[in-house]
């Protein structure tokens, strides 16, 4: 069997269509950023350096940024802690069914944070009315922190679990022979998973820093909303871009620092041996902490589901809400399917470059990871800057704009998801098929496609689910008279929680969770194939 690097090097790159696809990927993903950069350059050319004055934040903006950063750091710390506790418990699940089912705990990852905000604010009000707890934070920073923590906790769990699963079983065994399991976990397991935990914590900080939907629902001003407000007030794309520099700097640093870790995780082959063939014996305090973490993870799933079901009250209301939003649901599905249909082939073209040992994958990685650091409103503003121009085809104000926004935001994630699959494709299998079957197309259809199909399904599901919940960019680019489901919910949320909002949120949760479950099914189906080439 060829090793990883050889395998990727051997993947033929002579196909000119692949390079066309990569060019298109770069254009669609980086076009908005390039447009914003050009707008800044144009501003400097016409107005001189005074155009950059907006980069100097006012005292109010400085305080706002400090508060937003504090919130994001607190969310990063708490969600990572929950992640570590849950993942260390889930890590030792040994049965095959249990090992698969634990990933289903993360099914609500793509549910937009504002759905959690609605659910938790209802729970908070209920608790307040029922127990009359003094000082229960129903609004403000504390409420925003709690809801962000709950909404992002599964991401913390996912990163921690990926990190712990990456620890070589023999490393843990060597520690277990010398010290109790609790010490081995703390002194060996967690430090070895450290890079993954740090990357997860960093991304959580970025996500919290860039999200304004939750704070705005709890009547908190955060720095991210300044970007949106600046653009709404001045319609000046360059000013909005320049105003975002503190968030961009932090986000870029985090994302670029964690790129090697994400690359390593995506390129890791699945392990066949188990770390915990004999279950760990952990001290009672640690077991209780793990239970606490799992309890919070269960709350993270159950509170939105139960609250939304009880808010919707009847099946009839759910159906009525779904029917009333049928246009938005259809539009959301249409946007998601189109975004996936474009993102997945482009991602498939880029994925081998991400893993290539010979063509400096660092550049491709920087390109693939950078969009994750760009606040969603900036992507929307960049798209408007490109397409709201007389020289461009009439795309602005059409349904294509949300599709382009989704591609710009999520095509890189499709490429990263596909890397894991492409990485496992042994080129010897393709070469063997080529000797027998001359047609490149037929080899692709009969050999390559079945082997990468689970990855294609997972990538499509990721794009679909994330597009369904996308708010920041869609809010700016949605065409007049059309709205995605998430836009309709977000607008309704500002008028308070009604059974219609509950029903719509439930529809959204069902759509996203259903799509996520399809992805999980694709992964399980794919995992039945024994990777690594000829047996």
């Amino acid at each position: 069997m060829m090793d990883a690097e050889t395998s990727l090097r051997a993947t033929p790159d002579a196909n000119p269509w692949r390079w066309v696809a990569r060019g298109l990927f770069a254009l669609l993903v980086f076009g908005p950023l390039v447009a914003l950069g050009a707008a800044v350059a144009q501003g400097v050319a016409t107005r001189g350096v005074s155009a950059l004055a907006v980069m100097l934040p006012s005292a109010r903006q400085l305080v706002l940024f400090a508060n937003s950063l504090a919130l994001a750091l607190a969310v990063g710390a708490s969600a990572t802690l929950i992640g570590v506790l849950c993942a260390s418990a889930l890590w030792s699940w040994r049965s095959r069914a249990g090992r698969r089912l634990r990933w289903l705990l993360l099914v609500l990852v793509p549910v937009p944070p504002y759905v959690h905000a609605l659910a938790w604010s209802l729970v908070g009000r209920g608790l307040d009315g029922w127990l009359a707890l003094p000082g229960l934070p129903l609004d403000g920073w504390a409420a925003s922190w709690w809801v962000h923590t709950m909404a992002f906790a599964p991401i913390g769990v996912a990163f921690a679990l990926v990190g712990l699963e990456g620890v070589e079983p023999a490393m843990m065994a060597a520690a277990r022979l010398l010290r109790p399991d609790g010490t081995s976990l703390v002194r060996v397991g967690l430090p070895l998973a450290g890079p993954s935990l740090a990357a997860g914590a960093g991304l959580l900080v970025v996500f919290s820093l860039a999200d304004y939907s939750v704070p705005s629902l709890f009547h908190v001003n955060v720095y991210a909303v300044e970007i949106f407000a600046e653009y709404s007030a001045s319609n000046d794309a360059a000013a909005a871009f320049l105003l975002a520099w503190p968030i961009l700097v932090i986000a870029m640093a985090v994302v670029l620092a964690s790129q090697s870790l994400v690359r390593e995780a995506a390129m890791r082959r699945p392990r066949r041996e188990q770390t915990w063939a004999v279950p760990p014996r952990l001290p009672a305090w640690l077991r209780w902490c793990q239970r606490g973490g799992l309890f919070l993870l269960a709350l993270q799933i159950l509170v939105p589901l139960v609250t939304l079901v009880s808010l919707t009250t009847t099946w009839h209301n759910f159906v009525a809400a779904a029917i009333s939003a049928r246009q938005e649901i259809a539009f959301t599905a249409w946007v998601g399917v189109l975004a996936a249909a474009v993102s997945v082939p482009l991602g498939l073209a880029v994925a081998p470059a991400l893993g290539s040992a010979t063509r400096s994958p660092r550049w491709w990685w920087a390109l693939a990871m950078m969009p994750l650091a760009v606040p969603a409103p900036l992507v929307g503003i960049g798209l408007v800057t490109i397409w709201n121009h007389s020289a461009m085809p009439p795309v602005y104000g059409t349904w294509l704009m949300p599709v382009l926004a989704a591609i710009a935001r999520f095509a890189p994630l499709a490429a990263i998801a596909l890397l894991a699959q492409v990485r496992r494709l042994d080129p010897a299998l393709v070469d063997a098929a080529r000797i027998i079957e001359g047609s490149r197309a037929r080899v692709w259809r009969r050999i390559v496609f079945p082997l990468v199909a689970p990855g294609l399904a997972v990538a499509a599901v990721i794009v679909l689910a994330l597009t369904a919940g996308e708010l920041g960019a869609t809010l700016i680019v949605a065409p007049p008279g059309s709205a995605t489901l998430t836009l309709r919910i977000y607008n309704f949320l500002h008028y308070g929680a009604t059974e219609t909002v509950g029903g719509l949120c439930l529809v959204m949760t069902a759509l996203v969770a259903g799509t996520g479950a399809l992805g999980a099914l694709a992964v399980f189906t794919g995992s039945r194939i024994r990777w690594g080439g000829p047996a």
Binding site: E168, A170, M171, A173, A174, A175, R176, L177, L178, R179, P180, D181, T183, R187, V188, P191, L192, G194, A277, V278, R281
Partner: protein, 223 residues
């Protein structure tokens, strides 16, 4: 003494180890040799407490440590285990590796033990190095020193010299030999090369398809 009685382990429908019985006396050196996939590593992992047996039992120094329903945790068995790969923790220095197993010892005693072990395994001067800064041979010696730190009564070595060139292998076998002599612990050495087993052990058992198929005379193998 390690007593292995009727030990059986299955993975799915495959019997990796079937009804294996042997003993390793105090201070005795025994080698298990056989082809790859024969169940040698599984036997060691069962003895160390890293796998549960499906049948049979393991007794270490008169204490029942493994049987269906009985599992003494690995760190309480007073066994040392060196894996095929050095399995050094990349975030710890050589000294930290050795000190990891010296928990509960007074600091001065622990430092004394550290110095003695490093001297014995020819690692003096490398205390502050991280695994990435060690050669393959040095890494294997660190793994040995780490294992010996808490003074195990019995040492399990799972092909610790695999993939090394013959010259280095010979040199490390000498170091292991001298270290075992100094530490006075018994040895269960797993290898797929009978010669290598015979070089260290007084008794060599052959394990094939999970079953013991007979003794090999070490003196014949040494020739």
């Amino acid at each position: 003494m390690i007593e292995v009685r009727g030990l059986t382990k299955r993975f799915g429908g495959v019997t990796a180890v079937g009804d294996v019985e042997f003993t390793v006396g105090d201070g005795e050196r025994l080698a298990l040799f056989g082809p790859s996939g024969g169940g040698k590593t599984t036997v060691l992992r069962l003895i160390a407490g890293l796998e549960r047996p499906d049948a049979g039992e393991i007794v270490v120094d008169g204490v029942l440590v493994s049987r269906k329903g009985v599992m003494v945790p690995p760190h309480q068995r007073r066994l040392g285990f060196v894996f095929q790969a050095p399995t050094l923790w990349p975030h710890m220095t050589v000294a930290q590796h050795v000190m990891f197993g010296l928990n509960g010892m007074r600091k001065t005693d622990a430092n004394r033990r550290l110095k003695a072990l490093l001297a014995r395994t020819a690692l003096t001067g490398l205390e502050a190095r991280y695994p990435a800064e060690l050669s393959g041979g040095q890494a294997r010696l660190v793994a040995l020193a780490r294992t010996l730190a808490p003074s195990p009564k019995h040492l399990l070595l799972d092909e610790p010299l695999a993939n090394l060139d013959p010259e280095l292998k010979e040199r490390l076998l000498d170091v292991i030999d001298e270290t075992l002599e100094g530490e006075g612990c018994s040895l269960l050495y797993v290898t797929h090369e009978a010669r290598e087993g015979a070089r260290l052990a007084a008794r060599v058992l052959r394990l094939e398809n999970g079953r013991l198929t007979g003794d090999v005379r070490p003196e014949e193998e040494r020739r």
